[in-house]
Subunit: 328 residues, 2 copies
Amino acid sequence: MKTRIGILGYGNLGRGTEVAVMSAPDMELAAVFTRRDPQSVSILTEGVPVVSVREIEKWTDKIDVLVLCGGSATDLPVQTPEYAKLFNVIDSFDTHARIPEHFANVDAAAKEGGKVAMISVGWDPGLFSLNRVYANAILPDGNDYTFWGKGVSQGHSDAIRRVKGVKNAKQYTVPVQSALDSVRNGENPTLTTRQKHLRECYVVLQEGADAAAVEKEIKEMPNYFADYDTTVHFISEEELLKNHAGMAHGGIVFRSGKTGINKENNHIIEYSLKLDSNPEFTTSVLIAYARAVKRMYDEGVKGAKTVLDIPPAYLSTMSGEELRAHYL
Amino acid sequence: MKTRIGILGYGNLGRGTEVAVMSAPDMELAAVFTRRDPQSVSILTEGVPVVSVREIEKWTDKIDVLVLCGGSATDLPVQTPEYAKLFNVIDSFDTHARIPEHFANVDAAAKEGGKVAMISVGWDPGLFSLNRVYANAILPDGNDYTFWGKGVSQGHSDAIRRVKGVKNAKQYTVPVQSALDSVRNGENPTLTTRQKHLRECYVVLQEGADAAAVEKEIKEMPNYFADYDTTVHFISEEELLKNHAGMAHGGIVFRSGKTGINKENNHIIEYSLKLDSNPEFTTSVLIAYARAVKRMYDEGVKGAKTVLDIPPAYLSTMSGEELRAHYL
């Protein structure tokens, strides 16, 4: 029997999850739950119902894993604990500083419900976290470096849109090539914020706005831009929609560490992602871990888990024998 | 109490393991076991005994994890099952084709002894295997690419040394840059053996040997060189010892895969290692997994395991709380 997936929330992540389920031979989409009027939501998979979230409790015995596709700011802190009482759930909660609190809330709820609840699944947190933990355990004497991009930062784009005179904007976070080169050369550099990332802004002005004033306000904005080398390009709305609507992203996690009786040998572990679609890749990770959630639940596991708790084999459709024969 | 590590076999891997234990705050070296005369073996750690392997059974209650540092061809197929009856063990068995058979033998022995036995730990098999399994689960529709080097291949160096007229030799396996570029560009190429790796040979001739004949015999050697672009450099023995004694190695595992309703988005996962010392890095991986072996044993686990079975958190000295707060 296939693992029955439910999706809660049908934005970019919800659609990505739907597409990822299509590529999973051992899974099927059972229902999409929405806070909107279900009549107004049109999904890709034929024959699968769109259901009001108010009806979700009727689905507890028809869903094996519920994929929570809401945002980390306000949706998931409420939704994940709420639904972990009723379903096995998985989310992509990505507010790093609030993970311990979210974990505790979700763990209590999942244990109350006798369910498995995975939090913070995706690429960062997620695959990047895995790589940080593996690499730190293997090279205890070393330095971590995380670079993001080239890709759109939603938070920084929003910050630009709040500037007076700005109609629309996209902000790309770009790793600095010389910093990447230095890390790759094993130089173990100490890098300032400015030395690690550039910020490239594409800005559509409102009619009559003062371009110089807008550029100055962006470049001097504390936390968001002041500590970075920032470039501002003014473009038309058509150009923004045509050339900057993509959802490509990526990043690199490095560990550069030393071994040897005199620490004479350096080793560099580099994990790099280059993604055409951030939401589709994130949901591909979610669906692989949804497989692990089902397997743990079937084994009697209860409570909150993160990617750090899951044996790699649990993500695969293959048996241990197949994996050892072909992938080890 | 610290985890007490035993080392069996004191060559490059044994020495690397000893150095890795020094960097592990939660471990201590208890003894080094050798098939040689213990008097003839001098180790780095003061106060730790070198013991004849004939005495090893007296150490069953003084060792938590025995690290087996023998070779995959003849040592480990015998040693790992033999010692898995007496100790928790870990090895770096790397003959890919014989892993299923080795796993079965070790599993039976470890279950008989009530011990945990990890096999095939290192970087390939090992970290590369992990990355293949994670990446295939996440991107089911895609291609795998593994490149090795630049680094010395012992098997190819040995093959050259068997050629008549050759006194000594080192062979480097080198990834072809254009192949790496094509994979990184998301072109999902189909690559022949020749298109993936170059073979660079540094050869010391015996006095009076025919250089042209040696070069021809190397380049036409089936399996080892005939399918590759091979370059042969004749150098002096002094030059070989001075410039080609290093143990640097590395490699890259790629997964390039597509998502989207029309498979319109490509994603590239790249995992790369650049290692100054192959044996020291390999043993750093062994020691991180030795930590997991001890933890599983304390939990009552029995039998053979591979890296695919181990939650990442088990490699770390940190608690789940610390890992979630700082590494997720």
